[in-house]
């Protein structure tokens, strides 16, 4: 019964990836990264429950707990950064922030 879970996880991940690459709004892009996280987490839990070899373990679920914590703290930091960026330029367009590229290019 592994396949449906993996398909759902892959679908979530690809949705997040496509959204991240195509959308310009910083908040939407941020949400898309969260979506990719969830796709990964679904995978982790699924492989924990239906391992390819041996008995099912709780490893995947424990790992997903850690990931959730990391994602939560990252969300706090990331949203704060987005607010700051908005205050500086008055826009949420990612293309407004290209100043880290090489100056000569």
């Amino acid at each position: 019964m592994l396949l449906p879970y993996v398909l759902v996880g892959a679908a979530l991940f690809v949705l997040g990836l496509v959204g991240f690459v195509t959308r310009r709004n910083l908040i939407v892009m941020f949400l898309c990264t969260e979506l990719m996280f969830q796709g990964i987490i679904v995978n982790l839990v699924a492989f924990g429950r239906y391992p390819l070899r041996g008995e099912p373990t709780l490893d995947g679920q424990i790992f997903s707990m850690f990931l959730l914590v990391v994602a939560a703290s990252e969300a706090a930091l990331g949203l704060a950064l987005v607010v700051l960026l908005y205050r500086n330029k008055g826009t949420l367009d990612a293309n407004a922030w290209t100043t880290l590229k090489d100056a000569t290019a």
């Binding site: 990836l17 991240f20 690459v21 195509t22 310009r24 892009m29 990612a94 293309n95 922030w97 290209t98 100043t99 880290l100 590229k101 090489d102 000569t104 290019a105």
Partner: protein, 706 residues
């Protein structure tokens, strides 16, 4: 005991001889640095050289052989007043084989240990010392160096001023260099080992560079100084190799604690060189020829003479100093000093003689077709030095040193007089541009006449005796060489008086640079020249030889040949014999013939050149100095410069190019990758996705297939 103490004090004072001119130079440096007492600069150096001269003369007389001995031979006991209780040995300068006898230990005066050479095979420490070697040869050289230098330095205090008596720019610097020059030359002459000799040797080269290039703002002077230094460098390389070779050969032979580079040791074991060889060349020949290289450079002999005429760019007193007392005498001195080594090798002696003969004729012919008064004198110096080399090659070093000694007086006189002419003529020295100076410069006229007569070998003047000694011994050794020298002596008389007549005879005319009233020099410049003139007349009488005196017209004067007894109390080895007195009459006749021919052709100071009309292309060849400078330029300078350019091109393009390429590769890659870094977040994300996709595809499809 008190006497011994007095002797010791005297000896310490004598050993301090070279330091006084150095002290003078250092004082000038202090004056210049502090900006105070600058007016004392010349006095400091004159004083320093003066003290040296006094000590030099005292040393000379303290080395005088004891004439109370019936055999008339040198006695070392009087010579070694300098060391209170040194062992007294009978020098055996008269026995050609006993070169061991020349290594009289009491002649070496060690001041202090200088450089440790570590332990030798026997476990004793070997030192290079700072030591002096004092014998008859040193005594003669000391007198020449210190006395002539003193007179030149005194003359310079007048010469290095403008027409209002104000010192020239760099006046103090000039005297500092002079003091340093005298110090270097004294170290060279006094040195008791080859390393110290080399030190003095190089210091003399440095000082000549500084003094020839004294007017360094003039490009010719700067070039001449550089040329002198570089040409000497070539010779000095050989000289250094010679010293190395000597050490290499003698190092295994010498006793415990003995340094093979000390004269005393080197000459003691010199005959062991005969048994050695290196690469098929006999050791004495190798060492002698390498040492000779150094002498050729310093003494301006063929083929390393090219720097000497150009050295005339320096102030006239410097020319006098270089040509009479210091620098060029060093080579002759060194070969004479190393006679115990040279005498081991017939090949080396032959080379010395041949080089001397070539130089004598070459220089004399070149001098016949020059117009620059100082250059004529420079070529005459080269020619006279070549005479000395021939004598050295003919195993008559005592004759060479005798000529060196008399030559110093009249050549210094000639250069200082030429300086006077130059001074009066507003720095014009071309003999075509003035004539008839007899009435304008009466003192210079008289002094120059004495100098020229001495140089030409006019009978009874200093140059006559020494030149006759050389020709006489060489004629006995090799008649061919003797006749060549006689011919050269004729040329010498001829070109010397060609110059003299062009300068002082004929109608009176000056170049416009001379102004309205060319004038004679002040007393401070005339006095040294008169003293030199006395030397140019009388200096030869210390060496009128026994042989000649017994038969020739000087018998009534009873010349005692004091010089020969004196000089034989040294390391030189005299194996020469005199020819008959007929030769003396002949050489007197030759000198008179040369002067007479010059009178006939140039006595009226003709405006055109009679010799050029007569000799045509040969004269032009002489005038162009055999195109030797041009030849060297084509054969050596230009190829070397071309090689240098090749190296520069290679360095700039190939070597630097490689490095530039190494730097350009990462820069290019960076520039390419820079385009991908656009700062757009989605772009980076896409790049990561594409990369991961490619990796996945690789792992899935390509890696399994490999």
């Amino acid at each position: 005991m008190m006497l011994a103490d007095a002797d010791n004090q005297l000896s310490a004072l004598l050993l301090s001889m070279p330091l006084w001119p150095l002290l003078g130079s250092v004082l000038v440096g202090v004056f210049l640095a502090t900006g105070k007492l600058k007016a004392l600069s010349d006095k400091a150096v004159v004083g320093g050289v003066g003290v040296s001269a006094l000590l030099g003369v005292i040393t000379f007389f303290s080395l005088m052989p004891d004439t109370s001995h019936d055999d008339g031979h040198a006695d070392a006991s009087s010579a070694i007043r300098l060391v209170a209780d040194g062992p007294v040995e009978e020098p055996s300068g008269h026995s050609p084989k006993a070169s061991n006898g020349h290594a009289d230990a009491s002649r070496t005066h060690t001041l202090f240990h200088w450089i440790s050479l570590g332990l030798d095979d026997q476990g004793a420490t070997r030192w290079i010392d700072v030591n002096y070697y004092i014998d008859g040869l040193t005594g003669i050289m000391l007198v020449v160096v210190t006395v002539i230098s003193l007179l030149v330095v005194i003359y310079s205090t007048g010469y290095m001023r403008d027409h209002h008596g104000h010192p020239e720019v760099g006046y103090e610097r000039f005297f500092a260099f002079l003091g340093l020059f005298v110090f270097s030359m004294l170290m060279l002459v006094l040195a008791g080992n080859f390393v110290l000799l080399y030190l003095g040797w190089e210091a003399v080269g440095l000082c000549s560079y500084l003094l020839i290039g004294f007017y360094y703002q003039k490009p010719e002077a700067a070039a001449a100084a550089k040329k002198a230094f570089l040409v000497n460098r070539i010779g000095d390389l050989g000289f250094a190799l010679g010293i190395f070779a000597l050490y290499l050969f003698l190092s295994p032979v010498v006793g415990p604690g003995e340094n093979p580079l000390d004269y005393a040791v080197a000459f003691k074991y010199a005959d062991t060189l005969n048994t050695m060889e290196l690469g098929g060349v006999a050791a004495p020949t190798l060492v002698s020829l390498l040492l000779l290289c150094g002498a050729l450079g310093k003494s301006a002999q063929f083929p390393l003479y090219v720097w000497l005429p150009d050295a005339m760019e320096g102030p006239s007193p410097v020319s006098a100093l270089i040509h009479a007392a210091t620098m060029v005498t060093a080579g002759v001195y060194m070969v004479a000093r190393c006679a115990p080594i040279f005498i081991q090798s017939e090949v080396a002696l032959f080379v010395v003689m041949v080089i001397g003969l070539i130089g004598a004729v070459l220089a004399a012919t070149m001098a016949m077709a020059q117009y620059d008064m100082k250059r004529i004198l420079a070529y005459s110096t080269m020619s006279q030095l070549a005479f000395m080399f021939v004598a050295l090659g003919a195993k008559a070093p005592q004759a060479a040193i005798f000529h060196l000694y008399t030559h110093a007086f009249f050549k210094a006189l000639l250069f200082l007089s030429a300086g006077s002419v130059m001074h009066a003529m507003g720095n014009v020295i071309d003999v075509r541009l003035f004539s008839g100076l007899r009435r304008v410069l009466p003192h210079t006229y008289r002094l120059m006449l004495i100098g020229c007569l001495a140089l030409a070998g006019f009978p009874l003047l200093a140059g006559f005796w020494s030149k006759d000694e050389i020709v006489s011994t060489v004629m006995h050794h090799s008649p061919v060489a003797g006749w060549i020298l006689l011919f050269t002596a004729f040329l010498t008389a001829y070109y010397t008086f060609r110059m003299f007549f062009l300068c002082f005879n004929g109608e009176q005319r000056f170049p416009k640079e001379a102004g309205d009233h060319p004038h004679e020099m002040p007393g401070v410049m005339l006095a040294p020249k008169y003293l030199l003139a006395i030397g140019a007349v009388l200096a030869g009488y210390i060496g009128v030889s026994f042989h000649v005196s017994s038969t020739a017209f000087l018998g009534a004067l009873e010349p005692h040949g004091m010089y020969h007894g004196y000089i034989e109390n040294s390391t030189i080895i005299n194996e020469s014999h005199h020819s008959g007195p007929w030769l003396m009459y002949l050489s007197a006749a030759v000198a008179l013939a040369g002067i007479g021919l010059a009178w006939a052709r140039y006595g009226a100071a003709p405006r055109t050149e009679p010799d050029q009309a007569l000799l045509g292309p040969i004269w032009n060849l002489w005038n162009a100095k055999y195109y030797v400078d041009e030849l060297f330029d084509r054969v050596l300078v230009r190829p070397l410069r071309g090689l240098g350019r090749l190296f520069v091109t290679t360095d700039n393009n190939v070597v630097d190019g490689l490095i530039t390429f190494c730097a350009a590769v990462p820069r290019g890659i960076g520039a390419a990758l820079q385009l991908t870094q656009r700062g757009v977040l989605q772009g980076y994300a896409l790049g990561a996705v594409v990369g991961v996709t490619l990796l996945l595809l690789f792992w899935k499809w390509i890696e399994p297939a490999l």
